[in-house]
Symmetry: C2
Subunit: 611 residues, 2 copies
């Protein structure tokens, strides 16, 4: 039974604990925590259904602090729920603590890292999609948002998708304390403006005094009773609520209180209440999809197949083998060829439309619930979601990203559609995997292996067809490579990936006709690179030439350099890459213009060897 006095006391405890842990740390965001304390007190006491002693229980509700800087409040909630001790609370922001400056999954039951604003709600959409479409369990997803982050476009991507998908298991709580870091937000305390926007996007919107526990109770009941659409509770609050020295004042963002002792006294002192958070009751298990089984597709040597087509075929096979595999696409599925999966396995396909941030966020949310997402779009447009990928690594998320239409070899569509920075961006993600197969058989093997890969793995596919060079029985693996030709007489090694493998091979033929023997290596795994093979080539030839359909920075060339640079006697390495701004043209014209086609490679080698 709801007891308003208990809730008010609990809220004061959350405020006091937020102040205490921030003061102890010497940094943090207590005022952003204090505004939302009543909202969390009522949520904990009677609405959230989460067994803090069994954080992996699939039936648990999910609670995401999209305003991750309110971490003092989040950790104070953990204490109130009995998940951590008061002693641990006071380790906030220390090197040896699980309680980082912004929440991460290092402290259960935290699903994801937050701290880059506007990400928690779209990730919540992903978890809610899992609950509604995949797990088919009645858990709810509660997301605490700040009002400043309502300016992030990703929030409105989430609003549109959640309504489109009818996610009545998703409840956003917006702590409208009106004050950002330096000034008032654009919308201030005009709650009705937020409500109108939410309603226009298809949500149920409730406005409430965020410091009135009884009104909050009514709002949450209204949210829980809503069917067919998500609910947003828009709560008018005061930043730093309860302490005159900071309440609703500018210049009080992101710093401990000047006089924490006085503030704690003003709030009624330290409390040590524990709240019995409701445990999930339903007995059901997550839904499991039946699978029919399938063999990975294979292609005959010499066939002409686009690797994006092979991706689609392989993804479908992996999906038919494993019920936990799901796919997402940014409304280009007939280009990436995730459409094959979408048609055959529609219950596990998520059309995310042209909203790449929401697509990646949804994938993060799906893997929170142990689904195995593959998310695809044009590789160039993955750059739209780079901050989400960056944060996904901090979330320790296992994601599979697939980018098609890599490089100038796409041809006529021009540079806006050409990914030329994708390998650089994805390599610079902690723990990532970057793959760029040159043919269909390689692609299929790698797609299958990505399913079990930890961290963020990225597959780069080609628009145009390439010849199948790799026998379907050959071992292809993450961290591997393929030596196309090799001899003791090699004077140079050509290292290529994707479209440039064929160019390198043709260049080697050209060079052979001129009396120069070249090794050719297909580096389909850029990160991790097959260092043994690359280093052997360095030792054997002393001259490596890398060729990639990518800017010179951060791609294959740099990966190769990193692999050989601390050899006792490093080789010369020359990078061929795209050094001009490409235009439209045929693929062959553009490869030639960028000087990464066979004649350009042969010419560069000749020059390097002084011939």
């Amino acid at each position: 039974m709801a007891d308003s006095d208990f809730r008010r006391e609990l809220a004061q405890q959350l405020r006091v604990d937020s102040i205490r842990c921030s003061a102890k740390a010497g940094s943090g965001h207590p005022t952003s925590s204090m505004s939302a304390a009543d909202l969390l007190a009522v949520l904990l006491d009677g609405h959230l259904r989460l067994d803090y002693q069994a954080p992996d229980d699939p039936r648990n509700d999910h609670l995401i602090f999209s305003k991750g800087h309110a971490s003092p409040l989040y950790y104070s909630v953990l204490k109130a729920a009995g998940a951590i001790t008061d002693e641990e609370l006071l380790t906030f922001r220390r090197l040896d603590s699980r309680l980082e400056g912004h929440p991460t999954p290092r402290i259960p039951p935290t699903d994801v890292a937050t701290g880059s604003l506007g990400q928690g709600l779209p990730i919540g959409v992903g978890i809610a999609l899992a609950g509604s479409k995949l797990d088919r369990l009645p858990y709810r997803v509660w997301v605490l948002c700040g009002d400043s982050e309502m300016a992030e476009g990703s929030i409105w991507e989430a609003f549109e998708h959640a309504a489109h998908a009818g996610l009545d298991n998703l409840i956003a709580i917006v702590d409208v304390n009106r004050l950002g870091q330096t000034r008032e937000t654009m919308t201030g305390w005009h709650l009705e403006r937020y409500a109108e926007r939410a309603r226009a996007f298809g949500w149920h919107a409730i406005t409430v005094d965020g410091h009135d526990v009884d009104a909050i109770e009514e709002a949450y009941q209204g949210a829980e009773a809503t069917t067919g659409k998500p609910t947003v509770v828009l709560a008018k609050t005061r930043k730093g609520r309860g302490v005159k020295a900071v309440e609703d004042l500018p210049g009080k963002h992101g710093k401990p209180l000047d006089d924490p002792e006085a503030a704690i006294a003003e709030l009624g002192g330290v409390r040590n209440l524990t709240v019995r958070v409701t445990r999930p009751e339903v007995r059901a298990k997550p839904y499991a999809f039946a699978v029919t089984g399938a063999e990975l597709p294979t292609w005959a040597l010499g066939e002409q197949v686009a690797t994006r087509q092979a991706y689609g075929d392989a993804l479908l096979a992996v999906g038919e083998q494993r019920g936990e595999v799901v796919a997402l696409d940014g409304e280009v599925s007939n280009s990436t060829h995730s459409d094959l999966f979408a048609k055959q396995l529609p219950d596990r396909y998520f059309e995310m439309f042209i909203a790449e941030q929401q697509m990646i966020a949804a994938a993060v949310g799906l893997q929170v619930r142990d689904w195995v997402p593959y998310a695809s779009t044009f590789a160039a447009f993955l750059s739209r979601a780079y901050d989400f990928v960056r944060m996904a690594a901090i979330s320790r998320a296992d994601l599979r990203l697939v980018g098609s239409h890599a490089g100038v070899s796409i041809g006529e569509d021009g540079p806006s559609q050409m990914a030329l920075e994708d390998m650089a961006a994805l390599r610079a993600v902690h723990g990532s995997t970057v793959l760029h197969p040159s043919d269909a058989n390689q692609t299929a093997q790698l797609v299958a292996q990505m399913a079990d890969r930890k961290g963020i793995s990225y597959l780069r596919t080609l628009r145009g067809k390439t010849v199948v060079r790799t026998p379907s029985t050959e071992d292809v693996h993450i961290g591997g490579s393929r030596v196309l030709r090799s001899s003791d007489a090699d004077e140079v090694a050509l290292l290529a990936c994707g479209i440039t493998v064929g160019e390198a091979e043709a260049a080697a033929d050209l060079l052979a006709s001129q009396g120069t023997t070249a090794r050719v290596i297909d580096c389909y795994s850029i990160k991790p690179l097959d260092e043994d093979t690359v280093r052997a080539a360095a030792r054997d030839t002393g001259l490596l030439v890398t060729v990639e359909d990518h800017w010179p920075e951060g791609g294959l060339g740099d990966a190769v350099l990193a692999a050989v640079s601390d050899l006792a006697r490093p080789p010369r390495v020359h990078k061929l890459a795209v050094r001009i701004m490409p235009t439209s043209g045929t693929p062959a014209e553009l490869l030639a213009a960028a000087e990464i086609d066979a004649p350009a490679i042969a010419k560069a080698v000749g020059s390097l060897l002084g011939r």
Copy 2:
């Protein structure tokens, strides 16, 4: 005088020409062009005020195709306006043509490249801000949007900012043809839903039959008459309008018509109408801000100053020297220290709130009108706008980006706030400049030089204070470096940037005490790198150790490797960088944990030298 029949004929011509140029090219998006033909015909004939013979006239209206794939329509408009010949129109998508697959500034008067959806409208906000707040000229900004791109969050960032800034010089026209690449959009032909959203965000919204030229006339008049807020014209259209074989049919996206001759006949054949587009009449010139003049700030050797503080001081000075300099920030101005500029020069400061995509887009829009923008936020959050930066390079935009709070050295806030991939991402932008000064005097010089730098330049600043090592009179320049110590006996060169310069210097002291002589180089310019100095160090020592507060991929280490890898005898290069996922902690603790502090550097050198 408006002549409805002429407009209808003109629209048919635009359709026919869209079909013709796509057919000739063998690719392109004619159906996405045909839906918007009537909208453009009415715009050209009586509303747009643009002298196509004087595309640089500052009084011109601006026309942006946010749906850049409707390039056949865009180029057909150029022909109808007399800006290109029919012959040039038919060079569409050829290597030797200015008419790329998606519009770029290579063909005047195109302001910016489009083709990544959801970018044209936020860039239009930037141009409209220039018109209203800086140029103070009555030009209008017309943006043609597709309905599919309304799912991009960046569109809603633009809606919020444009209304907040009261931009009645901005008119968005949404071509609601309901069909995306593979299926119907989430909102279909429910124009009123779009209108409700627009109104909730503070816009004037008009719905119209997009094939009724008289209704369109009325809508544009309504838009032009609106004051105090932007207007969106939501037009219900049919994709492929006018040709039964494709009209409103799925599966007809992004390909030439199967039978262009029949389609052209169905549309009434080829026409060669020329429309007299209205020229701007007002006589005013762009506003010029008076400047007071100022010296660049300098600091005494040994002072402790954060480079972010130096950025703020220098930016203010540059602003006081040059009236064309403007600043933008993502609501963290008291962290990046653009607040100093904001307080002193408020007329040239743009608070973009927490909407990084809109911030970068606004900067792109401002530089279209020759303003010189500096845009700042936490370096980590620039990743939110990576696709906008990528496209800005294709737009040939001159942008200055400033990212604060780089690396693990920020300390307690944790990894969500730490930029560790920013140098990799920004290096992999065509024609970019990447700078990371280690002290205040370097920072000031580089900030001043960025004003005249072409392309996208990026300055990375530090949260914590560093000691001023560079005399204020010393030459600091883009492409330069600073040798802290050097001798003929150097056995190793330590190459560092930013926070690690002090660590490298301390490591050299440690090494000296152990009998090892180390050169120390401050590589404050990462791209372009001071190749002469780095290559000399390679030749002199044969062993380079790079140290950076960044992931190992794509940063200083890779820049150094690229500079020395094709020496006749390349040096050994060992990269020290952040190889673990950081947590919270003090800056010193985190530098130590990442093994990029002085003891770790000294230890690594000892190991490399076998001591």
